[in-house]
């Protein structure tokens, strides 16, 4: 329980900083909107086509936007040796991972709360009837994305060229969860019954569970000095 309390302290600290500065949130929302715009330009004004590929476009947008905030996961700690400070506190280093993970999930879900309706408008997909299913898919996909992302962000934080290394390591690892999220989203948007999307929910659930265990387990090694 002490681990959870420490993790919560980190979540609270980061979200408080974010709430006061809004530096990540604003940049992410604008970036996500631009990505959606570029997709619309690239694919032309064919609304039928856009509607069909909306699920894929949405998740590419989320992945690109998410990587922005992931690479800044430990930025608050970077100045004046904050990460060394966190590391030298007594207790399990996993609290740092859990805290940062939850912070990333919350932030990315907030961005998605803007991004998904915006995508619905731009791609003329009617989202309201499927809002509950979409929320489930978005949450499961975001958890999977953030699990591996927060982990690899810690691994690359001290690296030269980490802006290149993080996506290079992260995107191949994310293939299962992105496949699951895209296919589930597409099925939901097509109005397919939930049972059809279920196989993809299971893929995401399996990915989330397996990587939660692996990442929590190995994280102290990744953070060692």
């Amino acid at each position: 329980m002490a681990v959870l309390r420490r993790a919560w302290a980190i979540v609270w600290k980061d979200l408080l900083i974010e709430a006061r500065t809004k530096q990540s949130f604003n940049a992410m929302v604008f970036f996500a909107a631009l990505v959606l715009f570029i997709f619309s330009f690239a694919l032309g004004p064919d609304t039928e086509l856009l509607r069909r590929v909306a699920g894929g476009l949405l998740w590419v947008g989320i992945a690109f936007t998410g990587i922005l905030s992931l690479s800044r996961t430990y930025q608050n700690e970077e100045t004046s040796g904050g990460l060394e400070g966190l590391r030298s506190y007594p207790g399990d280093a996993r609290a740092i991972y859990l805290g940062k993970l939850l912070g990333n999930i919350v932030l990315l879900l907030l961005v998605e709360a803007v991004l998904i309706p915006a995508a619905g408008i731009l791609f003329q997909a009617n989202l309201w009837p499927h809002a509950a299913e979409l929320a489930v898919v978005a949450i499961m996909g975001t958890i999977g994305f953030s699990l591996v992302g927060t982990f690899y962000a810690a691994l690359t934080v001290n690296l030269r060229a980490r802006e290149v290394m993080l996506p290079l390591l992260l995107f191949p690892a994310l293939v299962p969860v992105l496949l699951g999220a895209v296919n589930a989203t597409t099925l939901v948007l097509e109005g397919a019954p939930m049972s059809e999307a279920e196989v993809w929910l299971r893929v995401m659930a399996a990915f989330d569970i397996i990587f939660f265990v692996i990442c929590v387990w190995i994280f102290p090694i990744a953070l060692e000095e």
């Binding site: 691994l155 030269r160 290079l168 390591l169 191949p172 690892a173 190995i218 990744a222």
Partner: protein, 223 residues
């Protein structure tokens, strides 16, 4: 105990000879496939290259896990060497597969689960090697890349399953063909040849890696 260069020379000779034998048998001795003709002979290099790639990445996984437990730089050197060889042979597998796919399937590339997984595999280990090249400190490089070596390999079955589901929802997988004994033993010969090539390259590469590590240490000491 045989000397180091003795082992290397023996492995090199054995690898060279079996490669030569495998190529001769594969190209001239075994009859051409009835349906595909000479193109099918690509199998004798494509399949062994794929086998070698997976073997190499399995070695990366085992050595990375060993490193994380024991923190012995030796395991990291073996993992790094194996990853390099694995990347080369994965790329070779894809290239040979494309050369085979174009005349038989009519396309260079298709989103078949095995093709897709192999391409993702290549991306994972290119990331592994890039991570190594960007890390300056030897201990950190070993630790970070070992973590990627373990996670990357653990992810392969999940990737394969998700890609299989993704594809089978759209099209049925191709049915396996029965293989004649001629083809089988030629394939086995080439598998043995490629495995010996792997062993030879590994011995050389690990030695080079160790020398590089020593040099790095000495330069750090003198600086």
């Amino acid at each position: 105990m045989a000397s180091r260069t003795g082992v290397e020379r023996f492995l090199g000779g054995a690898a060279g000879l079996t490669m030569l034998a495998g190529s001769i048998v594969g190209l001239f001795v075994v009859p051409a496939d009835a349906a595909q003709g000479n193109v099918q002979r690509l199998m004798y290099v494509h399949v062994p290259a794929a086998w070698l790639a997976f073997l190499a990445f399995f070695v990366v996984f085992v050595m990375s896990a060993l490193y994380l437990v024991q923190r012995d730089a030796r395991w990291d050197r073996v993992a790094a060497s194996s990853a390099e060889i694995g990347v080369v042979f994965t790329a070779l597998t894809l290239l040979l597969g494309m050369m085979w796919g174009k005349p038989t399937w009519g396309v260079w590339w298709t989103w078949d689960p095995r093709l897709t997984t192999t391409a993702i595999l290549l991306a994972i280990y290119v990331g592994y090697l890039a991570l190594r090249s960007f890390a300056d400190d030897a201990d950190k490089r070993a630790r970070w890349s070992s973590i990627v070596g373990v996670i990357g390999f653990a992810n392969v079955p999940i990737v394969y399953m998700s890609v299989t589901w993704w594809r089978t929802l759209h099209q049925p997988p191709s049915s396996p063909r029965s293989v004649s004994p001629d083809i089988l033993w030629t394939l086995m010969l080439n598998l043995a040849a490629f495995t010996l090539v792997y062993a030879y390259l590994m011995v050389r590469r690990v030695r080079l890696e160790r020398l590089e590590g020593e040099l790095e240490k000495r330069m750090a000491y003198n600086a």
